[in-house]
């Protein structure tokens, strides 16, 4: 059995094949941004040539397609139809020109406080149709508590649409502005993503790999089956950093509070682990000009990498945040962090002679000994990484809590160990260690850790259950599931139901799970009182398949 992992990165596309005894093949090809498919096809071709195709069971793919298409604004027009009711002016969250606000409202318990205005809805749809819109996003405030208005909008759009995203299907978490932008992006990249998915499927067929299971990486450090990803392509944004973090999990046995660095060419990504688990962004990822509800690992990027240029400012040595071409060792003109590491003989790559000559003359021009320049440059980079890490950890430790129990428990993150990966990882290891005085590890195969991470990442999903026993209702927004429950429905019943639905949902995605990775992440039950008597309970349960890898590899 072989598990393939492909990570389409900014410069390289990395691919690996992992068997029961470890890495069986690995390739690195240059990424062709105008033709991602060819990069994937090339790397896949290499892998297949070095392995037995019949043994391949699964391909996990991380792609920058949706991310790039959003960042470059290269997507299709979307008709966004929202209904907000009282609160902030919904026009503040206008994502595009075909944005329509329909009168109507629901309150926080999902009760309709104002009917949806059908006339304005019709007008909005006509206007979109006249503008040539073929994909629609329907989002109403508090739809995770009651999707009725979103469903009415969907019904009214009817045949006008090739694809419609309803806000409540994306997640049960609350945040109306983010739900709007998430639904919008999901529609915007839907067509381009689906064409890509078709092409992947065709390619695999051509290569005789039509039977293997294909998963797409998500930013939360999990995967989703290709078929599902066609409906929620927005979930594939920013999956690159997640692949790296998963790689570290696969390669190292992380048990403590830890810091993970992925030092790349232009940036260093910082992730934090609490115990053995990576931290998830509380709300969701930011992309373009809008924050979203796309769940993501908490990864903080800073402008320090191997290719970061060394410069002088007020007689002080600085590194980054700019990249002014490659390192001198690789034909560039301005010395970089990598050149400084080469000077200190921490790093052996590129044209060493050229690097050292260039480095010496830059130092001389600035009245410094080359040793001094290298020390200061590396020191600057490590200080930057150190300071950013400290403020990230402080920020995490500052995150709000809502119960006395949580506050008094006061579980602060205190990193005990550092893991480094990426090109300059080995070269930077000792400098990082000297700064932090924490055990610092660079795993073997750190250069393809991202692809290894992609290959071994398990399928994840999350859901939120909401019950209101006064009304006798239970609702799971992201599954569109709604059922009646008895008045004595309790928190334990809700937890059981949430877990069952989570596992059943995995089953529908043809993912076998024994439930050992399923966990309740939060659950609460509030008595609802009217006057002086308890009229029911307001129950909320969140559960998830823990992000992680199917097996570790070392």
């Amino acid at each position: 059995m072989l598990l393939l992992g492909i990570d389409v990165g900014g410069t390289h596309t990395d691919a690996v094949a992992i068997g029961p005894d470890g890495l069986e093949a690995q390739v690195k090809v240059a990424t062709d941004h105008d033709n991602l498919l060819s990069s994937i096809r090339n790397s896949l071709g290499e892998i297949v040539r070095h392995t037995d195709p019949a043994r391949i069971k699964q391909l996990n793919l991380s792609t920058t397609l949706s991310t790039n298409s959003i960042v470059e604004g290269n997507y299709e027009d979307v008709g966004v139809i929202v209904s907000a009711g009282p609160g902030l002016d919904p026009h503040s969250f206008m994502t595009c020109k075909d944005f329509h606000v329909i009168p109507g409202s629901l309150d926080h318990r999902g009760s309709e406080t104002k009917r949806l205005d059908n006339l304005s809805l019709e007008e909005a749809i006509v206007s979109c149709r006249n503008a040539g819109i073929k994909v629609y996003a329907a989002v109403t405030k508090f739809s995770p508590r009651n999707p009725a208005h979103e469903k009415s909008i969907e019904l009214a759009i009817g045949d006008n649409s090739d694809f419609t995203t309803l806000g409540h299907q994306l997640t049960g978490r609350l945040n109306f502005p983010r739900r709007i932008s998430t639904a919008f992006y999901n529609c915007a990249v839907w067509r381009v993503f689906n064409k890509f998915a078709d092409a992947i499927a065709d390619t695999l067929d051509e290569m005789g790999l039509g039977q293997i299971k294909v998963n797409i990486l998500k930013a939360d450090g999990g995967t989703m089956p290709l078929d599902l990803s066609r409906k929620v392509p927005v979930q594939s944004i920013f999956s690159g950093p997640a692949a790296s973090v998963m790689g570290i999990i696969a390669l190292c046995n992380i048990t403590h509070d830890s810091i993970i660095y992925d030092i790349g060419g232009t940036t260093t990504d910082i992730a934090i682990f609490a115990g053995g688990s990576p931290l998830i962004e509380q709300e969701g990822i930011h992309i373009g000009s809008h924050p979203t509800l796309v769940r993501a690992l908490k990864v903080h990027s800073i402008g320090i990498g191997g290719d970061s240029a060394i410069s002088m400012f007020n007689e002080k040595v600085r590194v980054g945040p700019n990249r002014l071409g490659p390192s001198i060792a690789f034909g560039g003109e301005t010395p970089t962090l990598t050149d400084a590491l080469i000077w200190k003989e921490s790093c052996d790559c590129g044209n060493i002679e050229r690097s050292k000559t260039g480095f010496t003359s830059f130092a001389a021009k600035n009245g410094l000994e080359p040793d001094e320049l290298a020390d200061q440059a590396i020191g600057y980079a490590v200080d930057k990484i150190h300071d950013s890490t400290r403020s990230l950890v402080d920020e995490i430790n500052q995150q709000p809590v809502y119960t006395i129990h949580e506050l008094l428990e006061n579980r602060k993150i205190i990193p005990r160990k550092i893991y480094i990966m990426g090109g300059p990882a080995q070269a930077m290891k000792m400098d990082v260690f000297r700064k932090f005085r924490l055990s610092t590890e660079v795993p073997e195969n750190y250069d393809v850790a991202n692809a290894i991470g992609a290959a071994l990442t398990r399928t994840t999903t999350e859901l939120e259950l909401f019950a209101d026993t006064e009304r006798g209702l239970m609702f799971i927004p992201s599954l569109g599931h709604r059922e009646n429950v008895p008045r004595n429905y309790k928190l334990e019943d809700a937890e059981k139901d949430a877990m069952n639905h989570l596992l059943a949902h995995l089953g529908e995605m043809h993912v076998a799970s024994d439930g050992s990775n399923a966990q309740i992440t939060s659950s609460s039950s509030f008595n609802m009182v009217n006057g002086t008597s308890t009229v029911g309970r307001n129950i909320r349960v969140k559960c998830q398949i823990k992000p992680g890898v199917d097996r570790t590899y070392s």
């Binding site: 009282p86 902030l88 924050p291 809502y402 129990h405 506050l407 307001n538």
Partner: protein
């Protein structure tokens, strides 16, 4: 994306695991829907608005303000310490310039907690605003502070804490005490002998709505504030004036609260009461947060809001106008003598019985202020809970003269020698000397 005109820190602490009792108005569910509303609106995604974790107030923070008998730990639960700590966090954010303004959206409330506390009154055990204000003075130096209490109930606790303090202006807007707990808060209650006119009570008739409140703001509150020139304005932001509140009879709305806040421009707001947890709190809290941040709140509207039906009659408006004139006069031309206490020797003495409604006992108390020519005077309290032991409290103010300070220490010594008291507490703000004796 939206951007706040004023950076705002929100300390949101719903205390989802604390209640007085399962069906008590002050229970776990109280801020649940507010949380839903703030999340769903994406409030914390607005540039300039950030959520913070509360701190936990310690015994010293409490005993700097209150005479606590038997001691702070016996009176304040964890939840109270966090609520006060939330207010302290709000103060730090503003005083250290991290945020222009801050809103402590915390529970339980505190404005019925008086200078001396032996238990819980009106859902309050310790006065979270006062603890915050004295934390500010202790750590950032002397400050002129105005506390504007917009809770529907008279802020009798805050009034009591600052009764003798000329540097704290306490203005309370509330439903007339003849119609609502705690039954106090009349204009003639205007401060102790050394702080006359520094307590301003504005009792309003039941049914007062947005127009009435705004008239009070324009005609009384703002001119008084303009004259007092505070370094800091604090809003005790109780939200039980709302037309849907189950335990009061006023007609204020979310728009009204936001507009009031927008005029008052408080540096710090601290949540007090408000028990219409579904129909009012989510909208009022949103309105206040947006108003403090300087973000458009004109679309915030609670279900069932009908301004015409809520509007007060012309007679009521005229009556309110008369009250405004009256209280302004009391501030600008304070009476020569306090409404409370008799002079005995060079002490002004008040005897009081205070009922602790939440716990159902009465405290009898004798409070005396030394009428000093050179400072605001030494304060002493003798207190006894029904059938309980005697307690003695002594406060030397921060700007005490040498003579008051010395007299304070000799009274302390005398109290110890006489051993009439089971508990003795000294608050010496001048030297930051805080002592407690007893068992």
């Amino acid at each position: 994306m939206l951007k706040a005109d004023n950076s705002l820190g929100i300390i949101f602490f719903p205390a989802f695991d604390w209640a007085i009792s399962p069906t008590h108005p002050e229970r776990e569910e109280r801020l649940l829907y507010t949380q839903d509303q703030l999340r769903e609106e994406g409030l914390f995604d607005i540039e300039g608005i950030r959520e913070y974790k509360p701190e936990v107030a310690c015994s010293e923070d409490i005993e700097r303000v209150h005479f606590c008998f038997p001691e702070a730990e016996a009176i304040a639960t964890r939840s109270h310490c966090i609520s006060a700590g939330g207010a302290i966090k709000a103060a730090k954010l503003v005083m250290e310039g991290e945020r222009k303004r801050a809103f402590a959206l915390v529970r339980p409330p505190g404005h019925h907690a008086m200078k001396t506390v032996q238990g819980s009154r009106g859902f309050c055990a310790i006065n979270i605003e006062a603890i915050m204000c004295e934390y500010i003075r202790e750590n950032y130096g002397p400050k002129r502070i105005a506390i504007v209490d917009t809770d529907c109930h008279h802020g009798d606790g805050t009034q009591d804490v600052y009764w003798h303090d000329p540097d704290t202006l306490f203005i309370s807007l509330h439903q007339d005490g003849r119609t609502l707990y705690p039954g106090t808060g009349f204009p003639k209650e205007s401060g102790g002998p050394k702080a006359l006119g520094r307590t301003v009570n504005i009792p309003l008739p039941p049914g007062t709505s947005d127009d009435g409140f705004m008239m009070v703001m324009e005609k009384a509150v703002m001119p008084i504030l303009e004259d007092f020139k505070p370094d800091l304005i604090i809003n005790s932001a109780g939200q039980d004036n709302h037309f849907t509140d189950p335990i009061t009879n006023m007609n204020f709305s979310a728009q009204g609260y936001a507009a009031l806040n927008s005029m008052l421009k408080p540096d710090i707001a601290v949540l007090e009461g408000g028990y219409a947890i579904q129909g009012a709190l989510p909208y009022v809290n949103l309105g206040i947060s947006l108003a403090m941040a300087g973000v458009d709140y004109s679309h915030v509207r609670e279900p069932g809001f009908n301004p015409k039906a809520l509007k007060e009659s012309e007679e009521v408006m005229n009556y309110i106008a008369t009250i405004c004139e009256g209280v302004k006069d009391i501030y600008f031309n304070p009476p020569a003598k306090s409404s409370e206490g008799v002079v005995s020797g060079n002490w002004s003495v008040r005897h009081r019985n205070i009922f602790y409604d939440t716990e159902g006992f009465t405290e009898s108390q004798t409070e005396s202020l030394l009428l000093c020519e050179n400072c605001r005077g030494l304060l002493k309290v003798e207190t006894q809970r029904e059938g309980g032991p005697m307690g003695f409290g002594l406060e030397i103010p921060a700007a005490a003269c040498e003579s008051c300070r010395n007299q304070g220490y000799s009274l302390l010594e005398e109290a110890q020698v006489k051993s009439r008291y089971r508990y003795i507490q000294l608050i010496n703000r001048k030297d930051k000397d805080y002592l407690r004796y007893g068992f």
